[in-house]
């Protein structure tokens, strides 16, 4: 009887330990982090040649940037814009709020700090990309996490 009770207690303790471990695993899971500090996280994904993102209502202007290296930011500034190869933004043809086709991307010129209109960009290989949004006052208020995608 005593052994039975001890086994029961041991089993209970093991259960508690397992539950705590499971909970700990959940807490330790790495959270999604927007690329810019102090901005709201914007969901973004790539599927079948389409970039999808869901900006909040107060985002007025959006930029999709595709980088050849990991995106590095300081505050609300990307410090390695020379690694940006292409993308699109609000106002350009083919850019829809919430969705951009891979075929509608433009080549980025680091010299001009803007896309080269009339020069399409076709990403290939392992690339890093993110979407960020400005409000009407040109303050970056929302950004996605950095996503790594291998393009065909």
């Amino acid at each position: 009887m005593r052994r039975y009770v001890l086994n029961l207690i041991s089993l209970l303790l093991l259960g508690i330990a397992f539950a705590l471990y499971s909970l700990g695993c959940e807490l330790l899971e790495e959270p999604e982090t927007p690329i810019f500090a102090d901005t709201d996280l914007m969901d973004a994904s790539y599927s079948a040649g389409q970039f999808y993102f869901s900006p909040s209502w107060d985002v007025e202007y959006l930029v999709l940037g595709i980088f050849q290296n990991s995106i590095v930011t300081t505050g609300k500034r990307i410090t390695n814009m020379n690694d940006m190869m292409g993308g699109s933004c609000t106002g350009l043809s083919g850019f829809n709020r919430g969705q951009v086709a891979e075929a509608s991307l433009y080549t980025y010129s680091d010299a001009s700090g803007y896309f080269i209109i009339g020069s399409p960009y076709d990403p290939s290989g392992k690339m890093y990309w993110a979407v960020w949004g400005f409000n009407a006052d040109w303050v970056i208020i929302s950004s996605s996490e950095q996503t790594t995608t291998t393009f065909p």
């Binding site: 500034r77 803007y114 303050v139």
Partner: protein, 331 residues
Amino acid sequence: MRRFIILVVVLFSSSSLYAADTVVAVMNFFNYGGPGLNYLSSSIPDSVSSSLADIRGIRVIERRELSTQLDEVVVEQTGAVDSEDVERVGTTPLERYSVLAGEHKVQVMRQGYRDYQEILTVGADTHRKLNPVLIEDQLIRRNDAGLGFYYLVPLNDEVRPTLLINPVFFNHTKDILQMGLEFAFALNQRHDMDLISPINTPFTMERQYDLIMFHACINVLPFRRLRTVVPKAGVAVGLVHLRDYRINQALDRGLELIINQTSFSLMGRVGVSFHASDFFGIFLEARYYLQPSKINRPIYVSQGLGSEMAQVSDSVRINYYAAGGGIKLAF
């Protein structure tokens, strides 16, 4: 006969509405002829006096009263007293002063006190006693406080006019000098900037200043005698605290403080006050604010797609002129 005798007739008349008869005194003749006519020097005046006494509207006075009347004539002729123009006749206490019969305006003045004025009707051969009580002049030595509103116009094309509110000022006036302190502010003074956005499109960044001013003033009221309409001119020195905001709806209040700074300010003004009473008045004023030093006015430039716009330091001198008015209460 005329050649030898001069008849001296002294007539006194008054312009007063209340004036009674024309006063006449007939003096003795002076005989410049032969001694045989001396008897006429007194007999003819007696006859003339009798005749005049019967005429309505003429009052003949005794020759012995003439000295008093002549005193008045002398005073009149010296200009010491005039029925229209006020002349200084002496300082109080003035024991006795002779005037012509009729209506006279008496004015007693003392610095720091309100002028005493009275219309005095003096009959012939009468005495009037005057005991003026002077009241301290609330305009010349007074304190006042009030508020004003001005249309503030910056002398800079990029800064928009706005309303300058002077919610409280305090002045102390002594004689023709006035010293004061005042506080004023102007909110929402727009100074928007036309810029290029990170995605290469032109846009207008909404900016605004909030101004808070403290000034110590010294004014001159050059026309001390004026009571109802009082012009003034003055200068002031003080501080202007300026807060520069940009509109940023991402923040709670929708305003992002960019910079705040304090600088010296000089101000000149001219104005006029209208005093409805000793305790209440309104005023109109024009001002010019001179800022001796430039103020910082950061501008924003695009840093490209991957960044917010960067702030770049810039400075500008903004002088203002203002026109407005307000009310004030004296105490």
